[in-house]
């Protein structure tokens, strides 16, 4: 067994060492002991109180002996419907964890570093993520085009279909400016939810003074109802790696990190293997493909914090700091990792880049419907015949996805509500005429975001779903800005009926006032988006709210 000194010596020389060092102790001891934290504090020269505070920020770092091996059961909105409470009761010492990204095949359970899945009463098994079905609309895809091929996750499999061709051409014949031009012309925009034009981001980093520059792949897929990045990384890891290498080539970055959410331990192994293979083949590391271009790539595993999907919180987490979001501006393009120019892109965004460079900007633009450029992966889950990941042309009618592609509601049921952007976009109760693109959804007071859509049929209690959603945001609020820290708590209490005015009008006024201020003045996207839950509930389900408030009186 490694000694404390071995572990510290192994990681202290690496970039972004805190998380991997903590994981090393966590894996070795089964929890983070006081002695371990003292060793880390000394080894990395982090004040002990700071380190302690930072460790307590993360959901999954156990601080009691045996904590790491106790089952953690997903109690996300879909798993709740599938019996996560019963499953938790069946498992000795189990505790709940927020949505762990397997809504298409619930219920995931983490035990140590094993990602199991099962239902109450059945044996838990380590099974791979469900593969996306063939495109039901028989439409051309970008990210999923090759993902279903056997062996795609291996270097050989990826290369046999033209993989790393875009990187090879760029390095041998192309130029950084040329790569940026194609990405800009393609109209590709951030697929993690923020929708910032990717080419413009890369240009800003390329032009920013200072270095070394960094590419960060945001794989902290924490939004409930989102499980698209997992399938991309599990079945097409080299597409993500090639996308990162292209971003590095385009911007002059020399190092990169994949910040992977804690809940995907199997994915970490897949990525590590893929990086090793790519390095051995001269596609990563020093002097890539014999050129002057060098790019070192590292995987860093999170530890359970939704807010670390917010890019500046992620950067603080990587740097070993308390993962509060930073004040913006300045933005990561000039002041990112270690305050140096940094690209932070989502997995799907990066995986889109190799095909765009291989087939051209016009090809990608043409994949969207109407004026919309490109495609978006939608993670569809809940009360629908065929949940799963679907790559849709941007602008596709939601009705087509729900009914034609995913088979419509379950037998004898009708759709009551869908969520957008996982939970962040709130609920939609009327969605017959919705198309899957930001202009349409923004006009409806929602947004597409990372593309998670959860479907709830007529059996579901909307007020209770809203309560669960707000409880999630309260659980994940970082605690920095007042409106979010207190607001998510107060809204949860009101939805649960634990506190708040008994008078219905006054109840609605309080809920509306909190939401208005949260949306306007919160410091980051979490607090800005969270009140969409209550706002959409009051907008689209006023009768359910009234009935709920009435029922409380008796």
């Amino acid at each position: 067994m490694s000694t404390d000194q071995d572990l510290v010596a192994r990681w202290a020389v690496e970039p972004a060492p805190l998380l991997p060092l903590l994981h090393a102790f966590h894996n070795r001891d089964g929890y983070l002991s006081e002695a371990a934290l003292r060793a880390v504090s000394e080894g990395l020269r982090i004040p002990l109180a700071d380190l302690y505070g930072t460790v307590t920020f993360y959901h999954h770092f156990a601080r009691e002996e045996g904590g790491h091996s106790r089952p953690r059961v997903c109690d996300g909105p879909i798993c709740k419907l599938r019996g996560s409470d019963e499953l938790m009761a069946e498992l000795d010492g189990a505790t709940p964890m927020p949505c762990a990204g397997r809504c298409d095949d619930p219920i995931p359970v983490l035990v140590e570093n094993r990602y199991l899945a099962g239902r109450p009463g059945a044996k838990l098994r380590e099974t791979p993520a469900p593969m996306p079905d063939d495109n039901p609309g028989e439409l051309e895809e970008c990210c999923f085009a090759g993902i279903r091929e056997d062996g795609r996750a291996t270097l050989m499999g990826y290369c046999s279909d033209g993989g790393y061709g875009a990187l090879t051409r760029a390095v041998r014949e192309g130029s950084p400016a040329g790569v940026i031009e194609v990405v800009e012309a393609s109209g590709l925009a951030g697929r993690g939810g923020a929708g910032f034009p990717t080419g413009r981001k890369w240009r800003a980093v390329a032009e920013a003074p200072g270095g070394p520059k960094t590419i960060v792949c945001n794989a902290d897929e924490g939004e409930p109802g989102c499980f698209k990045d997992r399938v991309l990384m599990d079945y097409d890891p080299h597409a993500v790696i090639e996308g990162m290498a292209l971003a590095a080539f385009a911007t002059g970055a020399t190092r990169g990190f994949i910040y992977l959410r804690y809940e995907y331990p199997h994915t970490e192994r897949i990525l590590e293997d893929a990086i090793l293979d790519a390095r051995d083949a001269g596609l990563l590391g020093q002097r890539i493909l014999g050129s002057d271009f060098s790019f070192e790539l590292y995987v860093r595993r999170g530890a359970g914090a939704y807010i670390c999907g917010e890019e500046t919180s992620l950067l603080n987490s990587l740097e070993g700091k308390h993962p509060f979001p930073r004040n913006k501006p300045p933005y990561p393009v000039t002041h990112g990792f270690e305050d140096l120019p940094t690209v932070v892109n989502n997995v799907e965004t990066l995986a889109s880049v190799p095909p765009i460079l291989a087939k051209g900007a016009d090809w990608y633009r043409g994949l969207g419907l109407g004026d919309h450029a490109g495609t978006k992966i939608i993670s569809l889950s809940g009360d629908v015949q065929r949940p799963g990941n679907y790559e849709v042309p941007i602008g596709l009618p939601l009705d087509t996805l729900l009914n034609d592609w995913a088979g419509g509601p379950l037998e004898g049921r009708t759709f009551q509500a869908v969520t957008m952007a996982g939970l962040s976009g709130g609920f939609l109760g009327k969605f017959d005429d919705v198309t899957l693109d930001e202009p349409c959804l923004r006009a409806r007071g929602s947004f597409l975001g990372a593309g998670g859509i959860m479907v709830f049929d007529d059996r579901r209690d909307m007020v209770d779903l809203a309560r669960q959603a707000m409880a999630f945001f309260a659980h994940e609020s970082c605690g920095k800005c007042f409106p979010c820290r207190i607001g998510t708590q107060r809204l949860t209490e009101r939805l649960a009926g634990e506190a708040g005015p008994a008078d219905a009008d006054e109840w609605k006024r309080e809920v509306a006032d909190i939401g208005t201020t949260m949306a306007a003045v919160s410091a980051c996207g979490l607090g800005i988006a969270a009140p969409l839950i209550t706002q959409s509930l009051l907008r689209d389900f006023p009768d359910a709210v009234d009935a709920n408030l009435e029922a409380r009186k008796s």
């Binding site: 109180a49 700071d50 994940e476 609020s477 201020t517």
Partner: protein
């Protein structure tokens, strides 16, 4: 020159100035709770939000740099409504904050004042309270009354940014956040040096000066007298708090040029000896190996005789004087004058020169 328009008034600004700083120069009363101008702007309380033309949402003025041509409104109806909601929210988790004795600390009334200004009485947004007090921490200097904590983290930041102790930090997240030492222990087991800076920047009195608080129940208001801390050569400005002519506390002067609100444990908490029962109130001389009370004349004579004989025997440099850091400045001055002029030597020092 670059200018920014604030509430209709166009003003020049310096590079690196925030909207909040410019607004304050114009005497705009922009409220804050997480702000301490000695610390890096944090942007947590969001009370300082202002309307910025062209921005979709209000911006936090404390973290937004002034830029040429910006048009800012600091107190529109919408902005004031957000502030009212924010204050109602803060007071809802901290309803006792309006009744905090000012002896707890220098900034301890900030929340109470804003609660009055925004008429936040705790009747709206009723719900769970955050923060858990630490009555188990029985140190004699710093009260840890976290029931009154609003999670602005000024204490954590002043400890790190000004004192460099990093003794406290933020545990957990969201509504469960809690000010903590390493492993949630006691202050005396942590890296805390009891400088008291956390106490003095706390805007709610969640941290309190326990020594001053002993005088809470004495009738009357306290007075402040500006002075310089005598303990060492740094020259920290202090306000000495007195009630009924007795010292009841010391607070650092935020505008003290040498300390900018900083003190150390001695300057902050070491004043109780002033009225100590154990102090000498009359001269003592040693007779037959025992100290016994004497008249001033007798004492002076005895001292003069002793000094004289030493100087006659060994010369003027055989005398060396050390003044106490607990003596008033005037005494310290007299000692050096006496030694230099009276004995003709520069062999004089002060215990707090370190």
């Amino acid at each position: 020159m670059s200018t920014i328009t604030i509430d209709g008034q166009s003003v020049p600004f310096e590079d690196g100035e925030t909207i909040y700083e410019v607004s304050r120069r114009l005497e705009r009363d922009v409220p804050t709770l997480c702000y301490d101008d000695r610390l890096e702007a944090f942007g947590a309380c969001r009370l300082c939000v202002v309307e910025l033309e062209g921005a979709r949402n209000p911006v936090a003025s404390c973290t937004t740099m002034a830029a040429d041509g910006m048009v800012v409104r600091t107190a529109t109806e919408a902005i004031e409504r957000h502030r009212k909601t924010l204050m109602d929210l803060v007071v809802s988790e901290n309803p006792k904050g309006a009744r905090i004795d000012p002896l707890r600390g220098l900034a301890s009334q900030e929340l109470a004042h804003l609660a009055v200004r925004y008429e936040s009485d705790g009747s709206r947004f009723v719900g769970k309270q955050s923060g858990t007090s630490r009555p188990d921490d029985t140190n004699p200097m710093i009260l840890r009354d976290y029931d009154n904590c609003i999670s602005c983290y000024r204490c954590v930041r002043v400890c790190a940014e000004r004192e460099g102790d990093y003794a406290i930090s933020v545990a957990n997240r969201g509504f469960e956040t809690q000010i903590t030492t390493e492993f949630a222990g006691l202050l005396e087991d942590s890296d805390c040096t009891f400088c008291g800076q956390c106490v003095q920047t706390c805007p709610t009195g969640a941290l309190g000066d326990l020594r001053s608080m002993e005088a809470q129940d004495q009738p009357g208001e306290f007075e402040k007298t500006r002075s310089i801390c005598p303990y060492c050569g740094v020259g920290c400005s202090v306000d000495i708090l007195t009630k009924n002519e007795k010292i009841v506390g010391v607070q650092p002067a935020m505008d003290g040029p040498a300390n900018l609100g900083a003190l150390c444990v001695k300057g902050q908490f070491g004043w109780d000896w002033v009225d100590s029962d154990e102090r000498l109130t009359q001269p003592l001389v040693r007779k037959d190996g025992k100290l016994v009370p004497a008249s001033w004349e007798e004492a002076w004579e005895r001292a003069a005789k002793g000094f004289k004989s030493v100087v006659e025997k060994h010369g003027r440099h055989a005398v060396y004087a050390v003044a106490s850091g607990r003596a008033p400045h005037e005494s310290a001055y007299s000692v050096q004058k006496f030694v230099r002029y009276g004995f003709g030597t520069n062999y004089v020092d002060n215990c707090s020169r370190a």
